[in-house]
Symmetry: D2
Subunit: 336 residues, 4 copies
Amino acid sequence: MKVYEIQSKPESGNLVLTERPQPQLAHGQVLLKMRSASLNYRDLQVLRRTYTAEQPFGIVPLSDGVGEIVALGEGVTKVKVGERVATLFMPEWQAGDLTREKANSALGGAANGILAEYVALPQDGVISVPPHLSDEEAATLPCAAVTAWHALMVGESLKAGETVLLQGTGGVSLFALQFAKMAGARIIITSSSDEKLDRARQLGAHEGINYIATPNWYKRVLELTDGRGVDHVVEVGGVGTLNHSMRAARYGGRITYIGVLTGNAGEVNVFSLIAKNIRLQGIYVGSRVMFEAMNSAIALHTLHPVVDRVFPFSEAHSAFAYMQSGQHFGKIVIRF
Amino acid sequence: MKVYEIQSKPESGNLVLTERPQPQLAHGQVLLKMRSASLNYRDLQVLRRTYTAEQPFGIVPLSDGVGEIVALGEGVTKVKVGERVATLFMPEWQAGDLTREKANSALGGAANGILAEYVALPQDGVISVPPHLSDEEAATLPCAAVTAWHALMVGESLKAGETVLLQGTGGVSLFALQFAKMAGARIIITSSSDEKLDRARQLGAHEGINYIATPNWYKRVLELTDGRGVDHVVEVGGVGTLNHSMRAARYGGRITYIGVLTGNAGEVNVFSLIAKNIRLQGIYVGSRVMFEAMNSAIALHTLHPVVDRVFPFSEAHSAFAYMQSGQHFGKIVIRF
Amino acid sequence: MKVYEIQSKPESGNLVLTERPQPQLAHGQVLLKMRSASLNYRDLQVLRRTYTAEQPFGIVPLSDGVGEIVALGEGVTKVKVGERVATLFMPEWQAGDLTREKANSALGGAANGILAEYVALPQDGVISVPPHLSDEEAATLPCAAVTAWHALMVGESLKAGETVLLQGTGGVSLFALQFAKMAGARIIITSSSDEKLDRARQLGAHEGINYIATPNWYKRVLELTDGRGVDHVVEVGGVGTLNHSMRAARYGGRITYIGVLTGNAGEVNVFSLIAKNIRLQGIYVGSRVMFEAMNSAIALHTLHPVVDRVFPFSEAHSAFAYMQSGQHFGKIVIRF
Amino acid sequence: MKVYEIQSKPESGNLVLTERPQPQLAHGQVLLKMRSASLNYRDLQVLRRTYTAEQPFGIVPLSDGVGEIVALGEGVTKVKVGERVATLFMPEWQAGDLTREKANSALGGAANGILAEYVALPQDGVISVPPHLSDEEAATLPCAAVTAWHALMVGESLKAGETVLLQGTGGVSLFALQFAKMAGARIIITSSSDEKLDRARQLGAHEGINYIATPNWYKRVLELTDGRGVDHVVEVGGVGTLNHSMRAARYGGRITYIGVLTGNAGEVNVFSLIAKNIRLQGIYVGSRVMFEAMNSAIALHTLHPVVDRVFPFSEAHSAFAYMQSGQHFGKIVIRF
């Protein structure tokens, strides 16, 4: 079968198309014939080897995809041949809190990912998806959508009438926009592009702030909230935007930290974290239980993820290059 | 000024119109010229003296109203003359958990209520209301709306995609319907009337069950949830419906108990409370902080409370009689 | 091997010693050579067939035991031969909330229990136990101790300086006493026996109330808390004591409901549930994650469970009869 | 009366003893004759004007003290002349979440503090203290003890058997040690002094790490927790220690951030916040409700705060100088 591998080939962005035998099924595993996959910013970092220090070469990239179950290993009882399922970002994270063991099962990082024609996964590592979604749409859920759901809708969740601040128009932020809309919240979103802000407003954002035109955007957030600050920030910018986010949050507010875009190391002033009793919660995707709850909401609202552009399997390099360009609004998808 | 009192006059439903001097303002109090009031089932129980054992005669009934501030006592700094404000059901419950002291401040129970032309209240016992609401609409908020908000939207709140079961079409249940809709939940509602179920569907309910036609309505709830049960029940029926509600709830589900309609004493089988790890949370209206959060949501969504019928101040008896008839769909209001 | 079965033999308490072949190991299972088991009140109900309506004959009783792993099925990676482990009450409940599927895995109810010389269980269905415990002590943990832990120490847990009310001196209540002591809480305990109250005080209870001498024991609880009521009640009595428990709880208090002793059906007045905003949380044992947290605490404090009496395997009938007599203080254990 | 003021006098550490008339009581205020006060690191920052940008000159320093009520203003109903009470750090923070208004009431910052012979405070701004405490001990509670309580015992609190990491032996850390001990947790503490570590062990710490001898102390923390990391860190060091603290925390762990010692601005790498789903909660002292809960625990356990040294009122300068020296173990107190 055809499969992409991460190799030490800077000239091809470290991404190499190659051949491997179709995977053998272990006890409890299912075989997926992949139909669609989607990219996350993390995947770009993995390719560039800037995600974590110890990334091995030779693994298959990407965590997010949807496929059809075409074979069952011994002992499989929960799914059937013919079902369409998505991957779990961490097949081991079924319920409860994150642990090291669960984190180590993340696809497309330390473990092999899913940019391959066939993928073997434990039956608990796949999940059915709402029927109204196309394969391309369903492929966007495992990382970005579950992350946004975890950030907003788990535990002390975003409530109707509360105000949430979203940053940019990447995958997590647009899912957060759609979920916040569902939950009846007021949405303020930032972007470097007025055109993207317009599109965000069409998706339901109440206010947009161009952070190029308004570099001290936290002041505008304070104005828009009568000086009070927002209830919740979904911080995707990273350390580079965290100082502004803390200024933009209300007393007792919450910041869910997803980070990555501007890096996670930098100068921070956390005085307002204390002075305003702010909670900063790191978010690393989520569990099957969260995914199931999200699926219920997506199905009830017949929500459609925002897919920016679909690339054929053979043009995976272009998909990564397009993500790197930062032009996208929503998710970038690969169709097998 | 004109004022209604609760007196031992069964022939007039214990409700007597009389005269009292306009109240004097103590330090920190404001004087409200009342514009509208609304009835809750509790008010009927207070009149009938079935609410609690130790109800005094001579007090003024009703907790819920809206008025204009016409005078300020010494030391008032937080509100101004001319502001339109609603009453807090418990003027002492500002924030945090309920205590005995806060509970004892409830209007129209142990303490005087607001069915009077002028009412003196502490400045912290009144709250501004969303401007898009009419006086009649705003008068419905203090007890029924705050109770529904507390039941669904505080702490472990109802989330988008979850299913909630509502009982009947009284004030609390219809506010719960509107808030659950805001929050993106799926709504199943029961009623004895198909016509009321139709109206509930128009307000956003997804499913209606006529509990006369379907006395074992919990079975229908289980069918509608693929055998799983609902995430949340807002139990307004009382002990008479609690057994069915526990059967209708999912494993790990929540029942917020508001009670009253069928009484609070009766035969209960709580085995499923254990077996399904269900949480049964008693709800007694709520705090100013909850009221403020609710107001933000009502304002953002320009939500309009469901007012069934408005009676003039002089016909307060008819308002109570109408509530007793059980014909209403939504709130019963008195206009001053 | 020797095994007890539940059969329709009222003359022998429905408990019959018989022979079965040693169990075959499926994928992922381990074989336990049992060393000790312990009884819970539920086991008596299962034998009497009063626990649930649909109990099958022919199953093996008891959920709680400790044994040594003597063989591994294929695919077992998490445990080794020679390890001493306890059973999980619900082998499927690893983490997160209870579900129907997890509940259906409970040992000694719908599924076979562990009163057998050898037992096959999934590797995730066994758990290591603190080394300082004897086999008899370790065998008491899976149901009673985890239930008490779940009731007091999970979620909104009992805090230092809070007051907890415990009922009687059965297994759950004594574990609750020991955990509440660990957590720095004040403990009020009830019993029908002054001698048992003395023993409870020796274990750390601050106050004891003889509910025979003081049938309205809730009044004494209120006195002991300056009229305020307790923060937390661990309700093991069932519906027969629930009314008093609600009276004994403070505004905003918590009652964790474990029930069983006086049955779960009866006349209840839940008015104070509303009036005091009380939370009544049904508790059905707990998950592996809870068991692990409890083990950490037991190990840190070198806590010893209270074992009342140990019966040999051949005298299981006597163990059940002793439980039925109600004379015990703490756990009843069977040694293999 | 005698009173200290903060003035622009660097030569006397900005602290000046002067005379003011005894305060007049407004409605609802009480007059305290001060008996003892205690210092917090914040007070040193306020004197040096490094706490916040906009500190006025002319205010009275210190937030924490205990005194006797010697006069009541009009309308005071909750306290009596002769009662011994402590100050609330923020007189306006009674219950619920922090707000800007509540924060602005903090004594000894923007508002006048209590280093004066007589102080007027609202009746809700004082709180009774456990009788077993000396005045010097009681004076240490309002800021440091409530902060430690808030950090460990509110919301998702520290549980028996969990491990907490404490930093240094200042006021907050030693209260945290005592509260963690009460709550049955395992305690790891750091210090620059082996002698202080010994004293911490005598107070109940299980492990001590000298961060001078072991600059990468997070590695030692990981060793002491079998590689798992601690459940909870009370971060008093500030940004300078935060990176190590995140490394020392377990997956799903909590860091309560109190900061200050090394400053709140600096280079941080928050990758592990995401990767381990860590919660970083800013803590700014706490509410009356928290103070009351803490008092219950202190009374039940007859806990004695660790008072390092007591200075007479006339030697307040020396008390500040002693704090600056960093030699103290526990609280520094001023006796009037």
